[in-house]
Symmetry: C2
Subunit: 211 residues, 2 copies
């Protein structure tokens, strides 16, 4: 049995939920309320020394980092594939996933926003401007990459790890009022995925710990 340590509104946990659903893998969900700092509890830190969600328990091993989990799921359960076969095509898919994971998500994390407020005295307008500053070039680049190789999904016409990363990031952007009107391809993929069972079941609102 696979166990996912996560949090309903964590974008990185959400990526893994989508992939688990696409791969039709059952999993046990263990929730850690990030607003209460539960990810820093000693028992959880013994599992994931980074004190962050998600962590994935598989075959008696602890996996950290959501993209490493997506790659593990792809290697362990290749069907249906979430990466194309050709190395260059795989690099294009990973390029989109990593743009989200490295250049968008880390800058809008709860821990980072709290530090802006507490350590640098940022007010909520400045926090929103901070998020928008990184979202604009990140989403613009992804829109261009989708124009190069995308279809009904971010790459081609079947879901990949790029979609697993992109969909949660769109939700986070909307939550902070980021304007997505210039990104019609991204919005179309979001609308398409919204009604697919694997994506719908993974949505924060449908998690047991959601409030």
């Amino acid at each position: 049995m696979i166990t996912l340590h996560g949090y309903w509104r964590s974008g990185a946990s959400w990526r893994v939920r989508i992939a688990l659903n696409l791969k039709a893998r059952e999993y046990r969900d263990v929730a850690h309320d990030l607003r209460r700092g539960e990810q820093a509890d000693a028992a959880y830190c013994a599992i994931n020394p980074q004190a962050m969600v998600p962590a994935l328990i598989v075959d008696d091993a602890v996996l950290t980092q959501s993209l490493a989990m997506l790659e593990w799921l792809e290697e362990r359960y290749p069907d249906p594939p979430l990466l194309p076969a050709d190395p260059t095509a795989r690099a294009h898919v990973r390029g989109i996933a990593l743009t989200v994971a490295c250049d968008l998500h880390p800058l809008g994390n709860l821990r980072v926003l709290n530090s802006l407020r507490q350590d640098l005295g940022a007010d909520e307008d400045q926090v929103r401007a901070w998020i928008a500053r990184w979202a604009a070039p990140g989403f613009a680049a992804i829109e261009t990459l989708i124009a190069r190789h995308g279809g009904r999904f971010a790459y081609g016409d079947t879901p990949t790890i790029a979609d697993c990363c992109l969909i949660p990031q769109i939700y986070a952007a909307r939550r902070f009022g980021v304007d997505l009107k210039d990104f019609p391809r991204i919005r179309a993929i979001d609308a398409h995925c919204a009604h697919l069972p694997a994506f719908e079941r993974a949505h924060p609102a449908n998690q047991p710990d959601a409030d």
Copy 2:
């Protein structure tokens, strides 16, 4: 011929240089001076719409995101391997690489530090405190992951993509005065890699555009 668009002190470019050297691939280097904003030039943005380095030109395709490049090099030129064979072991290696790429590097990027200064009025003490705040838990987690599976390198006794990511991040940490005394395994790996030709040739000081 492979072309790497990079910058001597860009940690993400450095990762790819190490991997190219470990794979014994010749490449052409095209430098973009980030301090002068050359990565935002229209000609380069037509290559990489994200206006960031690195970009890797291979087989007439443009690859973005350094970790996607490392995976491409691994798939295209499997020998010597930079990932172990077992899926769980691969996830452990990627876990370290992604901790650097997602949770350490993005928060200390030049564009982010400049925004702290210009948009939030941070002084240099606050910038250093910001870097140290994210470096401490990130390196501590990596030290624990190395204790679990590391050897002469971050995972086992041969170099992996984890080392490609870790070594440049250690340099960046030292540059900003981050104290690494609590991380003896990380320091030992850094000392070991410093004298290996693939790592030495990739060092910023040995790049044609270094000043």
